[in-house]
C-alpha cells in the first residue's frame, strides 16, 4: 500500500530520485559534466541576479504571464464545468517550450559553454532552442527524427531560418527517442564545449527538476489567475503528457492542494490494445532509458518500443520520472486519449473558441471533453493550452482527407 507523503513537492532527493524513479544513469564520460551542471544549477537557482534576468526575459521576450482564458462557448457546449485555458500557446515561439529554453540558455552561458545541442519531436522545443540560440548568438544543432522532419516541415524551416543546423536521424522509427539517442552521442563526443538543452522534464538528474522548475511558472501563474477570476482554486487541472514538461509545470504548484483532481493525458494513438500508442504510464513498466528510471514502453526483453502518436510531441516511449512517481503515489491520474479523439478536440476548439490548438494539448482537451460534462456547472477545470496548432494544420489536413 502506498502511504501518501506529507508533501508531493519535496522531490527529488539529493541523488535525483523521486521514489524509485529518476536518478543519473549515464555513461562515465558525461558524469563529471552532469555533476558540474548540478552545481551550476544549484547556484543559479538561488542567485537573485539569475532569477531576475530570467524574469525579465520571460516578461519582455516570451510575453509572460500568459493569460488564463475562460472558454465560455466550449464550457456551454460541453454543459458541465467551467473550462479555463492557460494560454501558453501565446508565448513567443508558440508553446511552453520557451519557458525552459530561456532558463537553460542562461545556465549554459553561466557555465561558459559555446555550443548548444537539442533534440526535438514536434519541433516546438527545437524552435524554442534555436530561438534562444539566435538571441544569444550561440551555434545550435538540433537532432530530429526523419519521420518528424517530414511531418513537421513548418518547424524545420523555422529552425533553419533561426540559424540552427538540423540533423535528421534515421535510426529506429526516426522519432523523438532516436533524436535523443543521437543528441546524447553528440554530447558524449563534444562534452567539453557543448551544453545539451533537454526539452522535457526527463533525462539524468538535475534535468527533470530543472525543467520542472522553469516550467512551474505555468502553474504558479494559473493559481494566482484563477484566484483573481473565480476567488477559488479549480476542481481539476488537466495537461497532456509526452515527456511531461508542460504537465509538470502546471501540476507542481497544485500537488499539495489535496482537493484538486489532477489529470495527465497520454497519447492513446490507435488504442491501448495494440502497440500503436505512447501511453507509457498506462501500458508500460519501469525501466532505464536516457539517463533516468521511469515508465517505458518496452518488450518482454527490455528492448524499447517505438510507439505511435498522431502528435510528434507526444511520440516518445518514456515519460519524465516525476510523473512515474506521481502515478505510483496516486496523486495524479493518467489517462489516454486516442488520435481520433484528439482530432475531434482539435476541430471543436478551433470552431468554438477560435483557438487552433496544437495536437499535443488537443489530447488534453479530449479528456476535458469527457470530464467537463460529468462535473457541475459551478466547478472549474484549468487546462494547459501548451502549444498552438499552426505547425499541425498540414498534418491535420492529411488526416481529414483534405488536399492543400
Amino acid at each position: 500500500m502506498t502511504v501518501a507523503p506529507n508533501t508531493f513537492r519535496a522531490g527529488p532527493d539529493e541523488r535525483g530520485f523521486f521514489g524509485l524513479f529518476g536518478g543519473r544513469f549515464v555513461a562515465e564520460t558525461l558524469m563529471p559534466l552532469i555533476l558540474d551542471l548540478q552545481k551550476a544549477w544549484d547556484e543559479a537557482k538561488h542567485d537573485p541576479a539569475f532569477r531576475s534576468e530570467l524574469a525579465g526575459l520571460s516578461a519582455h521576450y516570451a510575453g509572460r504571464p500568459s493569460p488564463l482564458y475562460f472558454a465560455e462557448r466550449l464550457s456551454a457546449h460541453l454543459g458541465g464545468a467551467k473550462i479555463y485555458l492557460k494560454r501558453d500557446e501565446l508565448n513567443h515561439t508558440g508553446s511552453h517550450k520557451i519557458n525552459n529554453t530561456l532558463g537553460q540558455i542562461l545556465l549554459a552561458r553561466r557555465m561558459g559553454k559555446s555550443r548548444i545541442i537539442a533534440e526535438t519531436g514536434a519541433g516546438q522545443h527545437g524552435v524554442a532552442t534555436a530561438t534562444v540560440c539566435a538571441r544569444y548568438g550561440l551555434p545550435c544543432v538540433v537532432y530530429m527524427g526523419e519521420t518528424d522532419v517530414e511531418r513537421q516541415k513548418p518547424n524545420v524551416f523555422r529552425m533553419k531560418l533561426l540559424g540552427a543546423e538540423i540533423v535528421p536521424v534515421s535510426a529506429g522509427a526516426g522519432t523523438l527517442k532516436d533524436a535523443m539517442n543521437e543528441a546524447l552521442r553528440d554530447w558524449v563526443t563534444n562534452v567539453e564545449t557543448t551544453y545539451y538543452l533537454i526539452g522535457t522534464a526527463a533525462g539524468p538528474h538535475p534535468y527533470p527538476e530543472m525543467v520542472r522548475d522553469f516550467q512551474s511558472v505555468i502553474g504558479t501563474e494559473a493559481k494566482e489567475q484563477i484566484m483573481v477570476a473565480e476567488g477559488r482554486l479549480p476542481d481539476a487541472v488537466v495537461a497532456c503528457v509526452g515527456g511531461g514538461s508542460n504537465a509538470i509545470g502546471l501540476f507542481h504548484p497544485f500537488l499539495d492542494d489535496a482537493d484538486i483532481a489532477i489529470y495527465g493525458v497520454e497519447a492513446g494513438g490507435r488504442g491501448l490494445d495494440g502497440d500503436e500508442h505512447c501511453a507509457s504510464l498506462n501500458a508500460g513498466r519501469p525501466g532505464v532509458l536516457h539517463g533516468n528510471r521511469t515508465y517505458l514502453l518496452q518488450d518482454g526483453d527490455g528492448q524499447i518500443l517505438e510507439g505511435h502518436s498522431i502528435s510528434a510531441g507526444l511520440d516518445y516511449p518514456g515519460i519524465g520520472p516525476e510523473h512515474s512517481w506521481l502515478k505510483e503515489s496516486g496523486r495524479v491520474t493518467y489517462v489516454p486519449a486516442t488520435d481520433d479523439e484528439a482530432l475531434d478536440a482539435f476541430q471543436l476548439c478551433t470552431k468554438l473558441e477560435g483557438i487552433i490548438p496544437a495536437l499535443e494539448p488537443a489530447h488534453a482537451l479530449a479528456h476535458v471533453m469527457k470530464l467537463a460534462p460529468t462535473m457541475d456547472k459551478d466547478q472549474i477545470i484549468v487546462m494547459n493550452m501548451c502549444g498552438r496548432g499552426d505547425k499541425d494544420v498540414f498534418a491535420v489536413a492529411g488526416h481529414l482527407g483534405v488536399e492543400m
Binding site: 541523488r15 536518478g23 543519473r24 544513469f25 549515464v26 555513461a27 562515465e28 564520460t29 558525461l30 558524469m31 563529471p32 559534466l33 535510426a171 529506429g172 527517442k177 539517442n181 546524447l184 552521442r185 558524449v188 563526443t189 563534444n190 562534452v191 567539453e192 519501469p286 525501466g287 532505464v288 532509458l289 536516457h290 539517463g291 528510471r293 517505458l296 518496452q298 518482454g300 526483453d301 527490455g302 528492448q303 524499447i304
Partner: protein, 283 residues
C-alpha cells in the same frame, strides 16, 4: 577468495610481458549460432579476453558499427536468455578464456537484476561492463555482482579527472577500461601519446590492469596502444568485419567466421610485434 579468470589471464600475460587483446563481438550477430561459432574461434585467433555485447535497442554510447550489430542481433531474435546460453555453451568447451558482458542496464533490469546475476554467474560470465551505471549507482548492480564473485569493470574516460578517479575505481575489479576518446565507440582514432599519459595516470591510482578501447581499429593502432596499456579492446572493426561478410539479407556466409578470425589474427600479430620491438630495444 580464488582468483577469477580475468585476474589469472592478466597475470599470465603480465608474466609473458604481453598486452591482452580484448575482442568485442555482439551476441546474436548475425544469428545466435554463428555468433557462438565466432566466439568459439576467438581464443584460437589470439583473443585473450572476450567482450560479448548484449544487444539493446537504444545504445547511446555506440557508434554506427556497434549500433548496426545490435540491430542485426535483435532482428535475428536475440534475447538475454540466448546471450547467457551462448556463454554457457562456450564455457562447455573453454574453461579459461574470460568472458565479459557489455551493454546497457535496461535489458538486465527487465530480466531482473538478481536473476540476471545468478544466471550470468552460473553460465560462466566473469565480468560486466554496463555503460549507463556510473559509480553513483553502485547499489543497483555493481555491489550485488561483486558479492557473487563477478567482476564489475568500470569505464574511465578522458573526463574522469584525478578528483573523481578514486570513486570510479573504488568498486572496480578485473581490469579498468579506459575509454581513449570523448565519444562513441568506433569513432575518431585515439591520440597514442595522450592515451599513454592517461594510462599512467590511472595506474598511479590502482594496481588493476588497464585496457584501452573506443576507436582502436587497425593492427598498427592496437600495437601503439598495446605498447603502454595492459590490454587493447577492439570492437567496431570486428563487428564491421562481420557485417561485410554477410549476404545482402544480412545472413551469415561461409566466410563470416573466417573474416573475424583473420582480423583478430592481424591485431594479435601487430600487438605482439610492438612489444617484441620494445623488448629488443630495451635488451
Amino acid at each position: 577468495m580464488t582468483k577469477g579468470r580475468i585476474e589469472l589471464r592478466f597475470g599470465e600475460l603480465k608474466a609473458e610481458d604481453r598486452p591482452a587483446l580484448v575482442a568485442f563481438v555482439m551476441a546474436g550477430d548475425p544469428d545466435s549460432e554463428t555468433a557462438l561459432d565466432i566466439v568459439k574461434a576467438l581464443p584460437g585467433a589470439g583473443a585473450d579476453v572476450i567482450e560479448l555485447g548484449m544487444p539493446f535497442s537504444d545504445p547511446m554510447a555506440d557508434g554506427p558499427a556497434v549500433q548496426l550489430a545490435g540491430q542485426r542481433a535483435l532482428k535475428a531474435g536475440q534475447t538475454m536468455a540466448k546471450t547467457l546460453d551462448l556463454v554457457r555453451r562456450f564455457r562447455d568447451a573453454d574453461g579459461d578464456t574470460p568472458i565479459v558482458l557489455m551493454g546497457y542496464y535496461n535489458p538486465i533490469y527487465s530480466y531482473g537484476n538478481e536473476r540476471f546475476l545468478d544466471d550470468a554467474a552460473a553460465a560462466g560470465v566473469d565480468g560486466l561492463i554496463i555503460v549507463d551505471l556510473p559509480p553513483e549507482a553502485d547499489d543497483e548492480l555493481c555491489l550485488p555482482a561483486l558479492a557473487r564473485g563477478l567482476n564489475f569493470i568500470r569505464l574511465a574516460t578522458p573526463t574522469t579527472d584525478d578528483r573523481r578517479l578514486p570513486a570510479v575505481l573504488a568498486n572496480t575489479s578485473g581490469f579498468v577500461y579506459y575509454v581513449s576518446i570523448t565519444g562513441i565507440t568506433g569513432s575518431a582514432a585515439p591520440d597514442t601519446a595522450k592515451v599513454a599519459a592517461a594510462v599512467g595516470r590511472i595506474k598511479r591510482h590502482t594496481a588493476l590492469p588497464v585496457a584501452v578501447g573506443f576507436g582502436v581499429k587497425t593492427a598498427a593502432q592496437a600495437a601503439a596502444i598495446g605498447a603502454t596499456a595492459d590490454g587493447v579492446v577492439v570492437g567496431s572493426a570486428i563487428v564491421d568485419a562481420v557485417r561485410t561478410s554477410l549476404d545482402e539479407d544480412c545472413r551469415a556466409t561461409a566466410s563470416t567466421v573466417d573474416a573475424v578470425v583473420g582480423l583478430v589474427r592481424q591485431l594479435r600479430g601487430g600487438i605482439d610485434a610492438a612489444r617484441r620491438e620494445i623488448a629488443e630495444k630495451a635488451g
